[in-house]
Symmetry: C2
Subunit: 115 residues, 2 copies
DNA sequence: CTCTTGATAAAGCATCTGCTTGAGTAATCC
DNA sequence: GGATTACTCAAGCAGATGCTTTATCAAGAG
């Protein structure tokens, strides 16, 4: 049986990924760890705003922040992405199954006994 | 090369999937087509609200509405889910690659020449 | 101890979102 | 034609979101 995924967690995950700055941060963290300051550098917004974005990613489990001297290194927690992917894949699987059934019925109709 | 996915489309897709009523509608449409009224029936909200939810799913390409007599049958457009899945998978792939490189380096260090 | 660096916390604000109610429309029924 | 069904359109509102500015804090550097 497929894993049942918590609705509230999915709300938070998809909402987090609905912002392109946050998606960009996730993509960059999938390449290497980075501090809040390093993550903030490329964007035309304050460090505070980026820190808030990281907070959103942290609350939904996608990113974790630790401490090293004055900095807060962030790293991706990729198993959290699992929840989103499996929800989507489940919907696609159901849809593909339905299409298969429809095709099978159509094939039986065309195949000979069309009284 | 991996397919490059449009940022605005991803914004809309993830935002659409961040609402559980809309995710539920997608899940139900992955089982069978349904009219706006049929989709609205189970929820404790007005038909108008559900029609608006379907509008959101329609604008991001996940669902399409047609006409049949007075009703508006809705159906899922599953290839749109592709965009979301491939973005997520790309991040995960990069992360897995990085972990492999780290493990390989660690193995080389442990393996003999640790001068 | 003071100054700087790298960050978080809190408050304020414009905009967006999810929902409502009320009105309008197209197709069907009588 | 008028009433009914299945919806859409539009306005309004409370609460969430993305950003800002100001203030605060914790860890070195001098």
């Amino acid at each position: 049986m497929a894993v049942t995924i918590d609705d509230e967690r999915l709300d938070a995950m998809f909402a987090a990924l609905a912002d392109r700055t946050r998606r960009d941060i996730v993509a960059r963290l999938s390449e290497r760890e980075a501090t809040v300051g390093e993550l903030a550098a490329p964007y035309a917004m304050t460090l505070q705003a980026v820190s808030q974005h990281i907070g959103v990613l942290e609350r939904c489990g996608l990113v974790s922040r630790s401490r090293h001297r004055q900095t807060r290194p962030c790293r991706l927690e990729p198993q959290a992405l699992e929840a989103a992917v499996s929800w989507i894949e489940e919907s696609r699987r159901a849809w593909a199954e339905r299409m298969d059934r429809l095709e099978a019925r159509l094939a039986r109709l065309q195949d000979g006994q069309q009284r």
